[in-house]
C-alpha cells in the first residue's frame, strides 16, 4: 500500500484554485489555476463552467506552467553590451534597473521622435491586449514591422469585414451538417479557440454525424478526421471553389430567394464595374416580370432578374449574379482540374452533396425568429487564402456559401467578432451599419482605422497604399531595398517590439532582414522569452507572463461571447512589469501620456461609458484596465470576475444569425473597385512613379480563375512548398517548452519535411535524405520523410522546423525558416488586401550530409528521441 499520506497528484495537494484564462495562443480559453500553499503553480485546467472550452484545454494550454517557470525567461531589464549584432550572436546582456532601462528607452525613442516619428518601426503583437497595438498612434506613427497578414489572413479579415462586417468567420457548429474545411484547422488543429472548437466540432461529427470534407495539400488533422480528404495542388483553392460555384450555378442549385432579397446579386453592374445608378445615386435592378429597369427599392418590383444583359441609362449592364455567371463559364470542374488536380467528378459530387445538405428553402425558429436553415458551410483559413490573389480567393469561398444562402444563418458560415466591446473600429457586436442603397456598410478595417494615403509614403510598408488591406509588414524589406523608387525620404532606425517575433513571421530573404536590423540605431523588446528577433535588441523590458498579470478579454470566440478574466496566480517571479505599466512609463517619458489615455479610452470602448473613462494624466495598472473592461461588458466589478472567472455565454442568436436582417450583403463588392480607383487617382495626383507597375489587376469585385503568379515561376522549380502548424504549435511560440517539445518532436509530421513517396522515387530521393529546398528567393535544408498523406506536388514543412532562436537553448533549430523561401515584394503581394503569397515553388537537391552550420548546436538534426536506457 502507498505509504505516503500527502497527496502526490498536483491538483489534490493543499492549495487554492484561482479563476483565470489562457494565453498560450492568441485566444483566451477559460482556466482555473491551482496554487500550492507554498505559492507554486502546479496545475492548470480548463474551467468547467466555461460554455466555450467546456473545461477543456489544448496541449499548449496544458503547458503554460513551464513557460512560467522557464529558466530562460528575462528576469530583469537587460542592456546589450555586445555592439556586434547578428543571428545567433550573444548580446551579452547585463541586468539593469527599471528606472535606468525606462529612462534609456525613453531617451532613445525621444531622440527618434524628435528627428522624425516615422523612423520608429513598431511591432506590437499582443492579441489579448489589442489596445497596445494602438500605442504608435499616440506618436502619430503608422509603421508596422510584422506580418500578421502572413500568419493568418491578410485577405481574410478585410473580406470578413466586407461580407459579415466582422473580423473572422466560422461555420455554425450548432446546426451544420456538411462542413467543408479548406486550408484551415477550425475544429481540429488550429485557429479560433482551438480546444473549444475541437470540442464542439467533435460533438457535431460524432453525435450528429456532421459530414466533414477537407480540401488540403496535406493530410492534416482535420483531413485525417474527415469523411473525405480532397488533396489539392497548393495555391489552387480558389479555382476549386470556383469549380464548385460553377456546378451550383449551372445546375441551378442556388438559393434564389436569398440572392434576390438579401444580397446585391440583382443589382445591375455597368461596364465600368460600378453599379448603374440614377442621378440621385440610386441603383437599378431589372424587373424580370415587367421586363424593365427599376430602382432597387421600388415597391413595384415583381421579380428581381438575376440573369440577362440589359441597357439602362444608356449603359449596357448585367445583374451582378450574371457577371459572376459569366466568369464561371470558364470555371467548369474539368477546366479547374487542370490546375487543382481535383478530379472534376469529385468537384461535381461535392457541389451536389453540399447543395443538398444546405436544404435550400428550409427554415428554423430560434428565439421566436424564423431563420433560413442552411446546414452546409464552406470554411477556410490561412492555407487556402494565403496567396497573391487573396481577396479573390476569400471572396470565392464566401460565394460558395452565398450561392446556397449559407451566410450568417443557422448551420451556415457566420461572421465572428474580434472583441465584442470595440464597437467603433473593431467589428464589435453593435457594428452592423446600414450603408448606401439598402446594402450593409462594409467594414474592411478590422484592426485599425484606414491609414491615409501619403506621398512620399509615411509608412515603410506602404500602408497608405492599402486602403482596404491588412498591414503588409513584409513590404518594408522591399521598399527599403528600393528606397528611391518608393520615395522614402527617411530611413527607420528604431525598432520597438512587444510580444512580436518579426524575424520568425516575416517572409523574405533573411540576410536582407538582418541588414535592416543592423541599420537600427536602437531596438527595444518587451517580451518574456528570448527569440529570433529580440536577440537583436539593445534593451529588453521583461513583461509578466500570463500567470502574473491581469487582463480581461475574449478574443475571436466563434460561438460564444463575453469576457474572460486573467489574474495573477503568483506574484511576479522576477523583476518584470505588465505591458500596461511599461507603455505608460514610456508614454510619460515621451510626453504622450494624455494622448495615450485618450486612445485607450477609444479602443477599449470606455468612451461609451463615461464613468469608465481614463483620466488624461494618470497611469493605470493592468488591474485597473481589466476592471474597466469587465465593467463595460456587464457592469460587474473585478471581485465578481475573480469569483466567477468569466462572463461568457453562447452568442446571442440575434447577434449571431443575420444581425444585418433587412440589409443586403455584398455578393458583388463594388467597394473594391472604388478603392482601386480612388487609390489610382491619388497616385496620379501625387505622380507616384511606380503607379503603372502597381498590381491594379488585384482589385476585382468578383473572383476569377486567373492563376496566382506563384504558378509562373521558372519550370525547374517543380514542387510547391507549404508550411503548416498543428494544435501543439498553434499560433505563437511554443517550441522550447519542454512539454511541447516532448510531444512535437516525437510526432513524425513535425520532425522532417514531408514528401509523397511517388514524387520522391521520381527524383531518386528517399526517407531520411538530407535535401536543400530552394525557391527563387531562398533556401532551407531539411531531412525528408515520405508520407502518403501528401499531394504529389507538395513539400510540407512543419513550422516546428522553422525556429532558429539561439539564445533560447530549449528551441531546437530547424534547417532554416520556411519564410525565407517566400518573396517579400509587390509582385507576390495582393495589392487589394496586403496578403503575401505563402506558397513557394521549389526544387529539391540531395545533399551528402547536413551542412555544418545547420547541424550545429541544438538542432533537430542532432538528437533523436527515445525512451530510457536499457539495463
Amino acid at each position: 500500500m502507498e505509504t505516503l499520506t500527502q497527496p502526490v497528484q498536483n491538483s489534490m495537494k493543499p492549495g487554492k484554485w484561482l479563476n483565470s484564462s489562457c494565453k498560450m495562443c492568441i485566444h483566451s480559453c477559460i482556466t482555473r489555476v491551482h496554487v500550492t500553499e507554498d505559492g507554486v503553480v502546479n496545475k492548470i485546467e480548463g474551467n468547467p463552467t466555461s460554455p466555450s472550452n467546456n473545461g477543456r484545454l489544448c496541449p499548449k494550454g496544458n503547458a503554460a506552467i513551464l513557460r512560467h517557470y522557464d529558466p530562460a525567461r528575462f528576469r530583469t531589464p537587460l542592456r546589450r553590451t555586445n555592439p556586434e549584432k547578428g543571428p545567433g550572436v550573444d548580446p551579452k546582456w547585463v541586468p539593469i534597473g527599471w528606472d535606468e532601462a525606462l529612462d534609456l528607452v525613453g531617451r532613445e525613442l525621444k531622440k527618434t521622435l524628435d528627428e522624425d516619428p516615422r523612423k520608429l518601426l513598431p511591432a506590437i503583437n499582443d492579441f489579448q491586449k489589442l489596445f497596445l497595438w494602438a500605442w504608435p498612434a499616440a506618436l502619430g506613427n503608422a509603421n508596422y514591422l510584422s506580418s500578421v497578414g502572413n500568419f493568418c489572413g491578410g485577405g481574410y479579415h478585410p473580406m470578413n469585414g466586407f461580407i459579415h462586417s466582422a473580423f473572422a468567420a466560422a461555420n455554425d457548429v450548432n446546426y451544420c451538417n456538411y462542413w467543408i474545411n479548406n486550408g484551415g484547422g477550425d475544429g481540429f488543429s488550429s485557429h479560433l479557440h482551438t480546444a473549444a472548437q475541437a470540442n464542439h466540432v467533435a460533438k457535431a461529427r460524432v453525435e450528429r454525424n456532421m459530414r466533414v470534407v477537407v480540401v488540403e495539400p496535406r493530410l492534416s488533422i482535420g483531413a485525417a478526421k474527415a469523411n473525405e480528404w480532397v488533396p489539392i495542388r497548393p495555391a489552387t483553392d480558389r479555382q476549386f471553389a470556383l469549380g464548385l460555384a460553377h456546378v451550383l450555378v449551372a445546375e441551378k442549385l442556388y438559393d434564389v430567394k436569398f440572392l434576390k432579397k438579401d444580397t446585391n446579386a440583382p443589382y445591375l453592374v455597368g461596364p465600368d464595374g460600378y453599379f448603374v445608378r440614377n442621378g440621385e445615386g440610386k441603383i437599378y435592378v431589372w424587373d424580370a416580370i415587367d421586363n424593365c429597369a427599376r430602382l432597387w427599392d421600388d415597391p413595384e418590383i415583381k421579380d428581381f432578374a438575376l440573369e440577362g444583359t440589359y441597357t439602362v441609362e444608356g449603359k449596357p449592364c448585367r445583374p451582378a449574379f450574371q457577371k459572376f455567371k459569366d466568369i464561371l463559364a470558364d470555371c467548369s470542374p474539368e477546366q479547374m482540374e487542370a490546375l487543382t488536380t481535383v478530379p472534376a467528378a469529385t468537384t461535381r459530387r461535392i457541389a451536389r452533396e453540399f447543395a443538398k445538405a444546405a436544404q435550400i428553402g428550409s427554415y428554423i425558429e430560434i428565439d421566436g425568429r424564423m431563420l433560413p436553415l442552411r446546414p452546409a458551410a464552406y470554411n477556410y483559413y490561412r492555407g487556402a487564402q494565403g496567396h497573391k490573389y487573396s481577396a479573390m480567393a476569400n471572396q470565392a469561398f464566401k460565394l460558395v456559401n452565398f450561392l446556397v444562402g449559407a451566410i450568417d444563418t443557422p448551420g451556415g458560415h457566420v461572421g465572428v467578432t474580434l472583441d465584442d466591446q470595440m464597437q467603433d473600429i473593431r467589428g464589435g457586436c453593435g457594428q452592423i451599419q446600414a450603408g448606401e442603397n439598402g446594402m450593409m456598410q462594409t467594414m474592411p478595417h478590422q484592426l485599425h482605422p484606414e491609414v491615409p494615403f501619403s506621398w512620399p509614403p509615411n509608412e515603410t510598408h506602404l500602408m497608405g497604399f492599402f486602403p482596404i488591406g491588412v498591414d503588409p509588414g513584409h513590404l518594408t524589406q522591399h521598399t527599403l531595398a528600393n528606397a528611391e523608387k518608393f520615395g522614402l525620404d527617411y530611413r527607420p532606425d528604431t525598432l520597438l517590439m512587444c510580444h512580436s517575433n518579426p524575424l520568425w513571421n516575416l517572409p523574405g530573404d533573411r540576410e536582407q532582414w538582418y541588414a535592416l536590423l543592423r541599420e537600427m540605431r536602437f531596438i527595444v523588446a518587451i517580451d518574456i522569452l528570448p527569440n529570433e528577433s529580440n536577440e537583436w535588441a539593445d534593451v529588453i523590458l521583461p513583461s509578466h507572463d500570463l500567470l502574473e498579470s491581469w487582463n480581461m478579454t475574449m478574443i475571436e470566440p466563434p460561438h460564444h461571447e463575453g469576457m474572460c478574466l486573467r489574474q495573477p496566480a503568483t506574484p511576479p517571479l522576477y523583476d518584470t512589469k505588465s505591458e500596461e505599466e511599461i507603455f505608460y512609463e514610456i508614454s510619460e517619458r515621451l510626453g504622450v501620456l494624455e494622448t495615450w489615455n485618450g486612445i485607450l479610452n477609444f479602443v477599449n470602448g470606455f468612451h461609451q461609458q463615461p464613468d469608465l473613462l481614463l483620466e488624461p494624466n494618470r497611469k493605470y495598472s493592468d488591474r485597473e484596465i481589466a476592471e474597466r473592461k469587465g465593467k463595460l461588458w456587464n457592469g460587474k466589478d473585478l471581485d465578481w470576475y475573480v469569483e466567477h472567472g468569466h462572463a461568457v455565454t453562447p452568442r446571442r442568436p440575434d447577434k449571431w444569425y443575420r444581425p444585418w436582417d433587412g440589409l443586403r450583403l455584398h455578393f458583388y463588392i463594388e467597394d473594391i473597385v472604388r478603392a482601386r480607383d480612388t487609390l489610382r487617382q491619388k497616385m496620379e495626383v501625387a505622380d507616384v512613379p511606380f503607379r503603372r507597375e502597381w498590381e491594379w489587376g488585384d482589385y476585382q469585385p468578383l473572383p476569377t480563375a486567373v492563376p496566382d503568379p506563384v504558378h509562373l515561376e521558372p519550370a525547374d522549380f517543380d514542387l510547391y512548398a507549404i508550411t503548416f502548424k498543428d494544435i501543439q504549435i498553434n499560433f505563437g511560440e511554443s517550441i522550447g517548452n519542454p512539454w511541447i517539445n516532448d510531444i512535437v518532436f516525437k510526432d513524425p509530421v513535425h520532425t522532417a519535411v514531408l514528401l509523397n513517396p511517388k514524387t520522391a522515387r521520381e527524383r531518386k530521393l528517399d526517407e531520411g535524405d538530407i535535401v536543400r529546398i530552394e525557391s527563387p528567393y531562398g533556401a532551407i535544408v531539411a531531412r525528408l520523410a515520405l508520407s502518403e498523406g501528401v499531394h504529389p506536388d507538395a513539400v510540407c514543412v512543419s513550422n516546428a522546423l522553422s525556429r532558429v532562436a539561439t539564445q533560447n537553448t530549449g528551441v531546437r533549430h530547424g534547417g532554416g525558416n520556411f519564410n525565407q523561401l517566400l518573396p517579400a515584394n509587390l509582385r507576390h503581394t495582393d495589392a487589394c488586401s496586403g496578403q503575401p503569397e505563402t506558397v513557394a515553388k521549389v526544387k529539391l537537391t540531395k545533399l551528402a550530409s547536413v551542412p555544418a552550420d545547420v547541424a550545429a548546436g541544438n538542432s533537430v538534426f542532432g538528437r533523436t528521441s527515445g525512451k530510457g536506457r536499457a539495463h
Binding site: 477543456r56 475541437a198 460524432v206 485525417a224 478526421k225
Partner: protein, 204 residues
C-alpha cells in the same frame, strides 16, 4: 465498489496529446516519462489514405500480467480495479515492463530525475514540489489519477481532452457512459489475444 475503466472514442480523438501534457502537469512526470500518449498511424496509399490517432494508457487489466510477473508484490490491484505500483516495494527489475503487452511502464532512471525538465540540472519550483513522489530506480505508470478519482473527479487526461475522446467511469455500472458506449458502439479491447482483459476499450 466501482470498477473503473476508460473508453477511447477514435472518431473523436484528434491526436493533439493534450492528454499527455495534462498528465505530465498533474503527475509532475520527469522528462521522457509518459503515463499516456496518443499515437498516429498513416494507413493507405495516396490518395486513399488517412491517419488514425490511437490513445494509449495503462489498461488496468483485469488479469494484469505485470502484477503476475512482479517478483515483489509491488504491483497490486486496488479493489476498484486500479493497478498500482508501491514504490517502496519496487526493486526496479523491469520484469513488469517486459510483461506489459502495452508498453506502458517506465523505470525512473537517475538522469530523468536529475537533469530536470529544462535539462540544465536545476529543478523549477514546479518540479521541486512534485518530484518527491518518485523514487529513482522504481517503475512508474498511469494510476488512473487515483487521488482525483478517489475525490470524485475525472483523471486529468479525461478532464482536459478537447474532443471528449476519453470517457471514464464505472464499468460495473450498467448505466455508466463508458459501459453504454462499449455496448452501443461495440467497444474492443487492445490486443485481446494477450488475455489480459483490459479495462480500456476502443470504439470507432
Amino acid at each position: 465498489m466501482a470498477r473503473w475503466g476508460m473508453v477511447f472514442d477514435l472518431r473523436r480523438c484528434i491526436g493533439c496529446n493534450a492528454c499527455a501534457v495534462a498528465c505530465k502537469q498533474e503527475n509532475s512526470l520527469p522528462d521522457g516519462v509518459f503515463f499516456t500518449k496518443t499515437l498516429s498511424e498513416e494507413v493507405g496509399e495516396y490518395p486513399d489514405v488517412t491517419r488514425s490517432y490511437v490513445p494509449t494508457i495503462c489498461n488496468h487489466c483485469e488479469d494484469a500480467p505485470c502484477e503476475r510477473a512482479c517478483p515483489t508484490g509491488a504491483t497490486y490491484t486496488r479493489p476498484d480495479g486500479i493497478v498500482m505500483v508501491d514504490r517502496d516495494k519496487c526493486i526496479g527489475c523491469g520484469t513488469c515492463i517486459v510483461a506489459c503487452p502495452y508498453d506502458q511502464r517506465t523505470r525512473l532512471e537517475p538522469e530523468m530525475l536529475d537533469k530536470g525538465l529544462f535539462g540544465d540540472g536545476r529543478l523549477t519550483p514546479f518540479e521541486e514540489q512534485g518530484i518527491g513522489r518518485f523514487t529513482v530506480g522504481t517503475v512508474v505508470k498511469c494510476t488512473f489519477c487515483h487521488e482525483r478519482v478517489d475525490a470524485g473527479q475525472l483523471p486529468a487526461c479525461v478532464a482536459t481532452c478537447p474532443t471528449e475522446a476519453r470517457i471514464f467511469g464505472d464499468l460495473d455500472d450498467p448505466t455508466s457512459r463508458p459501459r453504454q458506449l462499449i455496448l452501443e458502439r461495440r467497444g474492443r479491447q487492445p490486443l485481446p489475444e494477450k488475455n489480459t482483459n483490459p479495462r480500456v476499450f476502443y470504439i470507432d
